[in-house]
């Protein structure tokens, strides 16, 4: 079993007292605390502005555990990418932003779609999962 952990730290001086929030989770397969996610798709890709593209087209198996990480490496804060899963808006990442969610791939068509706005954006992504439906050639 592979053991993979995801941790976040949020810090801020927005309030009178400092904010320092930390959370960590071990990435497990669905329905268990004994077996970790053991597959990963990882890549870095430039997304040209305009069309919507499938960032990940090998659909993760519905009802299985899946974690999605995406970072927009653009240094231009006016550029952004829109992230959709199964044609539903999920998030919008401006230059420098990242996201991490336990994604909900609730049916066989739920792939990850991305659209670049304002110019080309370089994207880093990782999908940690326990199985995908491979696309036949």
């Amino acid at each position: 079993m592979a053991t993979t952990t995801a941790a976040i730290t949020l810090t801020s001086d927005l309030m009178s007292d400092s904010i320092s929030v930390s959370a960590s989770s071990t990435l497990m397969k669905a329905g268990t605390t004994a077996d970790g996610l053991d597959q990963m798709d990882y890549g870095v890709i430039e997304i040209p502005t305009g069309d919507q593209y499938d960032l990940i087209c090998s659909t993760p198996t519905a009802s299985k555990a899946t974690k999605l990480y995406v970072k927009n490496h653009s240094i231009d804060e006016t550029r952004y990418v829109s992230i959709m899963i199964d044609a539903q808006d999920i998030g919008r990442l401006y230059g420098g932003d990242w996201m991490f969610i336990p994604a909900d791939f609730h049916d066989a068509n739920a792939d990850v779609e991305i659209t670049s706005n304002g110019g080309t954006n370089k994207i880093e992504y990782a999908l940690l999962h326990e199985g995908t439906t491979l696309v036949a050639s």
Binding site: L37, D38, M40, E77, D104
Partner: protein, 139 residues
């Protein structure tokens, strides 16, 4: 100007042949600028008592549409320890209330969302504890 940062670390020593050690930090800024955000809901801890979307009570509203300008950054964690006690985050503005993502026990998420939508949470179990915080720019 306030400085707010979010750092993620993905790590594993046995998923790949080489060690996975991915760390990245972003500074949360007002949309399309390099100026730091100035507003937050603060950290909330609440119990969800609704087991379905569309019910009249028991869901938790995480964010109300247009409360912040453009991008609300959402941090949320499922505080339960029993596997299968899931929290579902859904878009209450769009027709059909589509689910955005789901958190099993112990899971957390961080995502810049759409500022013009209302986001709510329900769970598989009544009650389910969670914590969340929204950061952004009030308008």
């Amino acid at each position: 100007m306030a400085t707010t940062t979010a750092t993620i670390t993905l790590s594993s020593t046995d998923l790949l042949s080489d060690e996975l050690a991915l760390t990245t930090t972003c500074t949360l800024t007002k949309t399309t600028t390099s100026t730091g955000i100035e507003d937050t809901t603060g950290l909330n801890r609440k119990k969800i008592t609704s087991t379905a979307k569309g019910t009249t009570s028991g869901q938790i509203t995480l964010y109300t549409a247009d409360d912040f300008a453009a991008i609300p950054y959402l941090y949320i964690k499922n505080l339960e320890t029993t596997v299968g006690n899931r929290i579902f985050i859904y878009d209450d503005t769009t027709s059909g209330d589509p689910i955005q993502f789901q958190l099993d026990a112990g899971d957390w998420a961080f995502i810049p969302m759409h500022g013009d939508k209302t986001y709510k949470a329900y769970a598989t179990t009544n009650p389910t504890s969670m914590e969340f915080m929204v950061m952004g720019q009030d308008q």
